[in-house]
Amino acid sequence: MSLGISLTQYVIQIITGLGEGAVLFLVASGLTLIFGALRVINFAHGSLFLLGAYITASIADKWAFANWNFWLLILIGGIALAAASIPLEVFFFRPIYNRALLTQLLVTFAFVLVITGVVREVWGNDGRAITQPPFLKGNVDILEGGVRKVEFFFMALAIIVGILLWAMLYKTGLGRMIRAAVSDPELLGLTGVNIKILFTGVFVLGVLFAGIAGGAVSLRGFIVPGMAIDAIIKAFVIVVIGGLGSLGGAFIAAMLVGVASAIGILWVPPAAIAIVFAVLVAVLVLRPQGIMGTRGN
């Protein structure tokens, strides 16, 4: 293999990359949902993900992650974050839905600073260790190496959340309204739907996914404030590669980005993010509308 990297290392990085991709999918699914329906580019989404991780970690301080309760604690963390995001939507996001991109960028970026600042102030700059639930500790042996067990848990979680989200979007009345809002919110209002409430619901749902992703990441055993920026950059690349507002596209793109960045770490660790952007450029050259995007969106 090139650069003296063994096949084992490649296999392990690819699997780890899929685990990372699974987490990124959870973050990006919320982002793409919010962008698709609300047409707002929420730069604070990665910071909400970070806040979700710390909230869940604090919950885990009180009731330690055990094999039976960790999923419940993640869900509680996600719901707590989602509930806290209601006033955020009502007072700060609702007024900017129809505003210029720059206004949206400024307002949502302000919340990147505010939320990250709050996290650093409350929980400190250095990151923190979390006791993992026992059965997610350690590695799964593959060839001559090992992949963290928790990465497989992320993959399973992403698949379950993906299926639930798909079913919600395509099999329920709420999902139908959300998809209608993606194409023509004004017309949706003219069919008698309360758009304001629907949008609050979509926003809160998107934040719930960010919170769940954050809680899940804390199962790795270590979280740092820097996760927010890393997550938002990659989630954006995923949303664009996948096709704006497309769930299936986001899934494929998340796996692509996860693996590309894992392999990048193997090649040139400091420039791993450059590989992610190389994938972005390559996809946009071949398919400007994204993997699953439709033209004109």
Binding site: G173, M177, A180, S183, L187, G192, N194
Partner: protein
């Protein structure tokens, strides 16, 4: 919107005679008095008065940019407006948000045959919040819409984005139909459609009017309008300049005065 308060006291006089209420299905008069509509800070409709009786078809004609669309959007609550009086069947609409006006019986088919292109035809129809049973027993269901527009039944599982212009307009009218409105408003319903399709839609509109639904449509092209309408308003620069029955409006001198460019 705040000036609407003054209408509160007068709302009772809008009641239609009781005999009519039991006879016709949907009996609600649209009364508009002194309507002013705004896009941002610029005013586009000025002191407009108009009314639509139950079962009556009214066309608002005028040149491009005369304020027809804004007028409909203002009645639907999409565009900011102020009115001395804006009531449907005596219910004050002026302070209701647009989705509540739909529930109060106002349905607007916007111009351009709009639909939700990423949803199937069936999803487009079944997502409508219907004003169930409001029409005194007559209730249009999605199945009724398919009976009225058999083409749509065949295309039920296709995404609306794949439909032709005519099919999309049928879908738009069908969607308004299953909302079971008391007042159906259509913005340029014949725009860009083949004469055959326009005829079909005209027939459906007449049937709906026959059931007591009030119809208010705008047209730049008077072909469909004069075929369906009982009464006509001409508007210019956001103001009503002529009112009369459809036969009088069809007079070439009237048409050329208000419509020719």
């Amino acid at each position: 919107m705040t000036e609407a308060d003054m209408t509160e006291a007068e709302t009772t006089e809008a009641e239609t005679p009781e005999a009519e209420v039991t006879e016709t299905a949907a009996s609600a008069t649209l009364e508009v008095k002194g309507l002013n509509a705004f896009y941002g800070k610029s005013q586009v409709v000025f002191d407009l008065d108009l009314h639509v009786e139950p079962g009556e078809s009214v066309a608002v004609l005028g040149r491009n940019g005369a304020g027809k669309t804004s007028m409909l959007m203002a009645i639907a609550g999409v565009v900011a407006s102020r009115a001395e009086r804006l009531t449907l069947g005596g219910v004050d609409l002026s302070r209701l948000p647009s989705f509540k006006r739909v529930q109060a019986g106002v349905s607007l088919v916007p111009s351009g045959s709009r639909s939700f292109p990423n949803l199937t035809v069936d999803e487009n129809l079944s997502m409508v919040r219907s004003g169930k049973q409001r029409n005194g027993g007559i209730e249009w269901t999605v199945d009724d819409a398919y009976k009225q527009f058999p083409v749509l039944a065949d295309l039920k599982n296709n995404s609306a984005g794949t439909l032709s212009g005519g099919e999309r307009q049928m879908l738009a009218v069908a969607r308004a139909m299953v909302a079971n409105p008391m007042l159906l408003m259509l913005d340029e319903p014949s725009e860009g459609l083949a004469p055959m399709i326009v005829k079909g839609i005209a027939t459906r509109l007449r049937e709906m009017a026959g059931q007591g639904i009030g119809i208010l449509m705008t047209e730049q092209n008077h072909r469909l309008a004069l075929e369906v309408a009982d009464r006509v308003y001409f508007i210019e620069k956001g103001q009503s300049v002529w009112e009369g029955d459809a036969t009088a409006a069809a007079d070439p001198s009237v048409l050329s005065q208000y419509l020719s460019v």
